[in-house]
């Protein structure tokens, strides 16, 4: 399986090159990849059907618990077959459909990466590996939604999808990591038996919430559903593939996969069921006012995704059975209908249902394909959709407490889905022929094969469900439930409540369809205010983020140097004072108050010249004061036995004077620029710094320092350093590398001065 994934990525990488070479026939080349992959996986079918499970594991980052572990069991095979089958249809279709795009080669690169990543998600036996593929599907979805990148709406939708699914993905990552912390492993097969340990763990609710956030965003569950209709900005093959058949089912796959391991609790089951049911109903209602073929399909997809999630939440054996049948049915008919929508768009130049009609003569094959898929979608016998819906109703009826509400919701939702089907699958073909932007005729073969095949499969599965579907679904279901099932799938259950409900659904759907055109305008007007819709929240959030970001940035990075300095100093003082306060009880000072006359005079001079410098508005006076200050400090160094330091201080003070003198009269006179309130504030800050530093010095000198270094230097300076001037010996020998750094600083400073003065700007970056 690692090889299969690698092959997938490799072939994707080759796509742009091959596309350039075999432009015309590329669809046929591309289709080989999913076909081949599907074939390889399908070759394991006999063993899987017999209850076998294939695992392969190659260490990747074993120390972090991340391995290239893959599992092929019923569940993953089911999903993998959906991915490759729909993939094959879509690839073939896209080969023709994408020809008008100049960078179609890149399209195949992205969609190839997507397909492989999606296979990775469903084949992963390691949570983190799954996450890796999960994120890759988000990224490739982003690139595909934004494929028409010159349109702003495409870019926005791509970003929206990425942020919503990516954000959920991050929650999921956290959930995975918490789960890994609880179980000590990320291998899914390793925590197959840990359900009790996990559910009893205090972190369990956290895990559930985080993982479900990932699943719900990816599978566009309410209230994260809004990105999916917007994702219809993508080229239609993408919508058919990612946003209907496969990627949006990744979240559902995750719930299914984890159901046995962490499910079974009220928290898990109820959350999943209620969210699914809400999504099913609300999104179906939202379809009512749509006119765009793809948007209509998107809302019906959302409703189905909700149904699937709800089924997992119900979690009964029957519900799981319904789940699988419905899953397969939906992938087949929805993939078909999207491709049909693509064909219509391609051939007529519009996707607006209100302007399409009567195309059955011009596009007979498409009409048949659409009809087949539509019947399946409406749940009409003998298509697999019928079985699906029957089983769904059946399983809902079993639910104890919520059953009544759920069944009503399901019937209503499905009625709206029926409405969508009538709009998308029939209306464009029947009635009178209407004018369209392009003159329509039947699509080329390559665009017909894919949808035709999918629609036909729907019929086939409907006719022979027990033979074709049951064995695999048994194994799939046993991956979700902890028991081995033996499933019987029948097309005809006889006349019962479920069948009645099916009829009611169709009838209601017809009624809604009939009423729709009259109510359409009014329905559009009653659109909810943005503040009440999740997509409004998203927009508000995004705008708020920008506003917050700008506000924060102009507040924090306000450009006033002194504000920056104040913040830094205040932080330092605050933290240091806090630290000092904590140690306050141990602090003692024993300063030496003895002062000679000349020391007092020196201190007086230093302080007065400091004051002059702070208050003077004359530049030269300031420099004189600075000179006095420097010389006084030099004298302090003399008094305390540091002649070398004194020498250096004097020399540098004098050079400073020369520097200032050379620079200064080019500068303007000092102005009193600050407001007096600012001056007071600054004085307070400055004073606190001063007091703080005084205290530090007093504390630090309150005890004897026993440093072996001082004595060592005194001892070793002459015999080993060959010098009597210990300070100089330290500078050029003991700590010569300090001096090396020091002269480097000087050299660079000189280079800097030279460059500043000589190199004049010429308007470069």
């Amino acid at each position: 399986m690692p090889a299969l994934i690698a092959l997938g990525f490799l072939s994707s990488a080759l796509a742009p090159l091959l596309y350039r070479r075999f432009r015309e026939q590329f669809g046929w080349i591309a289709v080989m990849v999913p076909v081949l992959m599907g074939a390889v996986l399908l070759s394991h079918y006999p063993q899987i059907a017999a209850g076998g499970v294939f695992r392969e594991s190659v260490p990747w980052v074993p120390s972090l618990g991340v391995n290239l572990s893959f599992v092929l069991d019923g569940l993953s095979l089911t999903f993998a077959m959906i991915i490759t089958t729909v993939g094959a249809a879509v690839f073939l279709f896209a080969g023709a459909y994408m020809k008008e795009y100049e960078d179609a080669g890149r399209f195949f690169l992205y969609i190839g990466i997507f397909m492989t990543s999606m296979l990775g998600v469903v084949l992963s036996d390691n949570m983190l590996l799954m996450f890796v593929f999960w994120e890759l599907t988000s990224i490739s979805s982003f690139l595909l939604i934004g494929f028409n990148h010159h349109k702003e709406s495409s870019r926005r939708s791509a970003l929206q999808a990425l942020l919503v699914t990516g954000g959920g993905g991050l929650a999921m990552l956290a959930g995975i990591l918490v789960l890994g912390g609880v179980t000590g492993t990320f291998e899914i097969s390793s925590f197959y038996d840990m359900n009790e340990a996990i559910t009893a763990h205090p972190a369990y609710p956290v895990i559930v919430v985080l993982l479900l956030l990932g699943a719900f965003t990816k599978s566009a569950q309410f209230p994260f559903h809004f990105w999916l209709p917007n994702a219809m900005e993508a080229p239609t093959p993408v919508s058919a593939y990612l946003h209907s058949a496969t990627m949006v089912k990744a979240g559902i796959y995750l719930i299914a996969r984890m159901n046995h391991e962490i499910g079974g609790t009220a928290l898990w089951q109820d959350t999943v069921m209620v969210t699914g049911a809400l999504t099913m109903l609300l999104t179906a209602l939202l379809a009512f006012s749509q006119t765009d073929l793809k948007k209509l399909l998107a809302y019906s997809t959302l409703s189905v995704l909700g149904t699937l999630v709800m089924l997992l939440g119900i979690g009964s054996r029957l519900a799981i059975k319904a789940f699988f049948i419905y899953l397969i049915a939906h992938s087949l008919y929805k993939g078909t209908l999207f491709l049909v929508a693509g064909t219509l768009d391609h051939e007529t130049g519009t996707r607006d249902v209100t302007v399409l009609g009567g195309l059955r003569r011009l596009m007979p094959f498409t009409t048949v394909t659409a009809a087949l898929a539509s019947f399946s979608m409406m749940g009409v016998i003998p298509l697999v959709g019928f079985i699906g819906k029957e089983t769904v109703y059946e399983s809902i009826l079993e639910v104890q407490s919520w059953g009544t509400y759920l069944i009503i919701a399901a019937v209503v939702a499905n009625a709206f889905v029926v409405m969508v089907t009538l709009l998308v699958g029939f209306r464009p073909f029947w009635g009178r022929l209407r004018e369209t932007p392009k003159h329509a005729h039947e699509a080329p073969l390559k665009m017909l094969v894919g949808p035709g095949m999918l629609a036909f499969l729907g019929l086939l599965f409907g006719l022979f469900p027990d033979a074709l579907l049951a064995p695999m679904l048994e194994q799939s279901a046993s991956s979700i439930l902890s028991e081995t099932l033996s499933l019987k799938i029948k097309l005809w259950h006889g006349v019962n409540l479920v069948l009645v409900l099916s009829f009611v659904t169709l009838l209601l759907g017809g009624v809604v369809y009939a009423l729709r055109s009259g109510l359409l305008d009014r329905a559009r007007q009653v659109s909810l205010p943005a503040a009440l819709t999740p997509s409004g929240w998203y927009e508000t959030g995004l705008n708020g983020l920008q506003v917050l970001a700008r506000w924060q940035t102009s507040l924090v990075q306000n450009g006033y140097l002194r504000n920056y300095i104040i913040v830094i100093i205040a932080t330092a003082i605050f933290l240091a004072a806090t630290a000092l306060y904590q140690a306050a009880d141990q602090v003692s000072i024993a300063p030496d108050f003895e002062v000679t006359f000349y020391e007092g005079a020196l201190a007086f001079i230093i302080i007065v010249s400091t004051l002059i410098l702070m208050t003077s508005s004359s530049r030269l006076k300031s420099i004189v004061a600075l000179g006095v200050l420097g010389f006084s400090i030099g004298i302090i160094f003399v008094i305390y036995g540091a002649p070398d330091v004194a020498l250096t201080t004097f020399a540098i003070e004098t050079l400073n004077v020369i520097l200032f003198v050379l620079v200064l009269y080019r500068l303007p006179r000092f102005l009193k620029l600050s407001r007096s309130s600012n001056r007071v504030r600054d004085a307070v800050i400055a004073a606190s710094v001063g007091v703080f530093m005084t205290m530090i010095v007093l504390f630090a000198t309150s005890f004897e320092l026993s440093s072996g270094l001082k004595e060592y230097f005194a001892r070793a300076s002459l015999p080993e350093g060959k010098g009597r001037n210990v300070v100089n010996v330290i500078l050029v020998d003991f700590r010569a590398i300090d001096t090396l750094g020091e002269i480097t600083v000087l050299a660079v400073a000189a280079l800097g001065v030279l460059a500043l003065l000589k190199l004049r700007p010429r308007g470069r970056d």
Binding site: Y598, A601, L620, G634, A646, V657
Partner: protein
């Protein structure tokens, strides 16, 4: 206390007083030239102080500092004058 010690003590006080007085001139000015002259004089006082201090502390190493002070004080004064000349020209 020997005569020498006494003389040294008194000398230090003289210098200290003189430094304070000169500093007063430096503070009050009024012209910048006054301040520069005062600064120059201060460094001369520093040299004297260093000489006396080296006797007081019985170390000779400080005298080198005195040379440097003499030298640099002159340079500083010249630099200020340079500035004043420039300023005059403007």
């Amino acid at each position: 206390m020997s005569y020498m010690e006494w003389a040294v003590q008194l000398s230090v006080i003289f210098i200290g007083l003189s430094i304070l007085v000169i500093f007063l001139r430096l503070v009050i000015g009024p012209s910048i030239e006054d301040r520069i002259v005062a600064l120059d004089l201060l460094s001369a006082n520093a040299i004297a102080f260093i000489a006396v201090y080296s006797i007081q502390k019985n170390t000779t190493t400080f005298l080198d500092v005195g040379i440097i002070v003499a030298l640099l004080a002159f340079l500083g004064t010249v630099a200020f004058a340079f500035y004043l000349g420039r300023r005059g020209k403007q």
